[in-house]
Amino acid sequence: MSEQATEELREVEISFRETVQPGRGVRVTKSFHIEGKITQVMFHFPPGSAGLVEVRLLKDEKPFYPAEGFLALDNATPVHYTDADYYAKEPLTVEVLNRDGINPHTPSVTVVIRYKKPWWL
């Protein structure tokens, strides 16, 4: 009788939600302590940002999404599906540049990491 090994997969969402004042940029770095795969990256641009709020995600200090430059939209929530390796405690950095001269804006970025449940959890 053979026993099929099953591994339990879990997901974690790393969220970045930053209110950025006009004419300011923010750089936030977070990480997750278990290795896995990045399966989704979601950006949210609030209505009103008018393409003046530039956002990008860096993985281990290298541009991850978009691959080059920044994304700047208005009232949009693009979802990027991927299957990229993520090693434990790898830094995920979100850069937000608010080029609006008057209004603060609050874009969000969510990174979904799928990982194998460790035996101790």
Partner: protein, 153 residues
Amino acid sequence: MATRETFPVETTGVGRKDYSQQVEYSVEPIVRSYQNAYLLDEIYLVPAGSVRTIDVNIPSETVVLLYDFIASITRNCLLGFEVQAIDVAGGLANPIFSKADYQKVEHHHSRGAPVFLIIRIILTNYCTFDLDVSVTLAGIYTGVQEYHQSVAT
């Protein structure tokens, strides 16, 4: 563990308020400048073989953007039509256009010719009889401050 740092960036425009400022309806555009239709529709008598200059004053703190200019007569004879903009009291007149044609002279300014103080209309009657010239100027008007703001953004 999260780290956060901020730094200055160059601004390139002005968007709209979003829920950072408890505004939930920012998909509605905010009107920053109000514009109204401007129409000048007059008939001017120009004696035979003469030039008549008409100055049309614009209310203070107002700018008129002129898009369409038409001068017409009911006879098939040559008519000169020139429009100039005077933006400062005692200042030079900036020509917007100068044309001459038979019976109807028409000009269109695609981006709108701004006039801040006086619209100067110069009508030339090349005929040997008096003419009633129908002049129509159409455009929009708005506040000077709002105009400069919209041009800047």
